[in-house]
Symmetry: C2
Subunit: 184 residues, 2 copies
DNA sequence: CGCCTTGTTGACACCAGTCAATTCACGTGG
DNA sequence: CCACGTGAATTGACTGGTGTCAACAAGGCG
């Protein structure tokens, strides 16, 4: 698992994405001239590098694949809008609920969830950087969610205890993730 | 000029983009299944509609054009990251300074700036929705920037009085906009 | 065993939100 | 030409969510 972040001159940091297994990391870099952000691993990762020449070749010869790659970056952008809305307009608890819902849903789509439980190796410091909160407030907000019986988060293991109420609190709608519809 | 926004159930609103003359509005909609946001005009606008079939045809036959269209959405995404970082980690005055710097720079690139002055038909309510602030705090923050001699903002007319200090305050670097370099 | 990072807690400060009232700019209709 | 209505801008008083500072506990690791 890895994160994309921006860092300000005085050290303030904002994480703008959490990448999980199977994600295409920084496909944006293919066409953007400058990389204005960092990528850091949160856990041991296996990485495959794709040369820009290969992607360029795809864009020359494979319109369908090109549209799929483009779509990946559009989903990223849609996710950014969701994070922005959450950062700008939601209370800490609502925002954190929404974040956990998103991670749960994406991990599910990757087949990495078992019994509403998944691994999320984010320290409270990093979680704060993702949500735009101080670590102290992250700690208290997490306790709040725990006390309400919505989540359990010990170490790097997260369990969603009450998915419906957590999604309601975070006003979460997974539509923006454009996931393939799974048969129930 | 128009804005793209997300609205929460209780009416809270977050603006995620301000479109100016020449911008391709919601090119994202070409490949995304669901439109999870609204677009509202701020002023009288002239609109050209591009059928998805036309864009699809471009992706089939014009790799270079396709990459350019893709690039437009990547710049959008990069801008979202910048807004997110600002919303999450900057103080109101810093964030507002940065926003004004971005609008100035983009309006310049569109040839719509004269003497560091440009038209920005955003009410303080809308400005608050863009920055994630209440209108009262927007008002006070604007007064702060005015008092410091950084900007003049009367009605829909904005004048940047001290560009260097405004950019410094907002820690603004236009690189993410990927603008074509103009000869001075 | 001791260092270092992370998690936790309490006290306090402060940035930003809320509520409410007032002023101002405009556009409309009489 | 003026009364009026409406939305935006402004202001003051107060509240409250979140940040800061500091201390301490709990593990992981060399």
């Amino acid at each position: 698992m890895s994160v994309r972040s921006n860092i300000f001159a005085d050290g303030r940091r904002q994480i703008s994405a959490v990448h999980i297994t199977g994600d295409f990391v920084d496909l944006h870099g293919f066409l953007l001239e400058t990389m204005d952000h960092n990528v850091n691993a949160l856990s041991a990762v296996k990485v495959a590098f794709v040369p820009h020449t290969a992607i360029r070749a795809i864009t020359e010869n494979e319109p369908h694949l090109t549209r799929l790659l483009w779509l990946l970056t559009l989903i990223d952008a849609a996710t950014h809008r969701q994070w922005l809305a959450a950062a700008g307009r939601l209370l800490a608890a609502e925002q954190m609920a929404r974040f956990i819902c998103e991670m749960l849903t994406r991990m599910e789509a990757a087949g990495l969830v078992d019994d509403l439980t998944f691994s999320l190796p984010l320290s409270q410091i990093a979680l704060g950087d993702a949500l735009g909160l101080s670590t102290v407030h992250v700690n208290r907000t997490l306790q709040d969610l725990r006390r309400r019986g919505l989540v359990r988060w010990t170490g790097t293991t997260v369990t969603v205890m009450d998915r419906a109420r957590l999604e309601e609190l975070g006003e979460f709608d997974p539509a923006y993730l454009n996931l393939v519809r799974m048969p129930r």
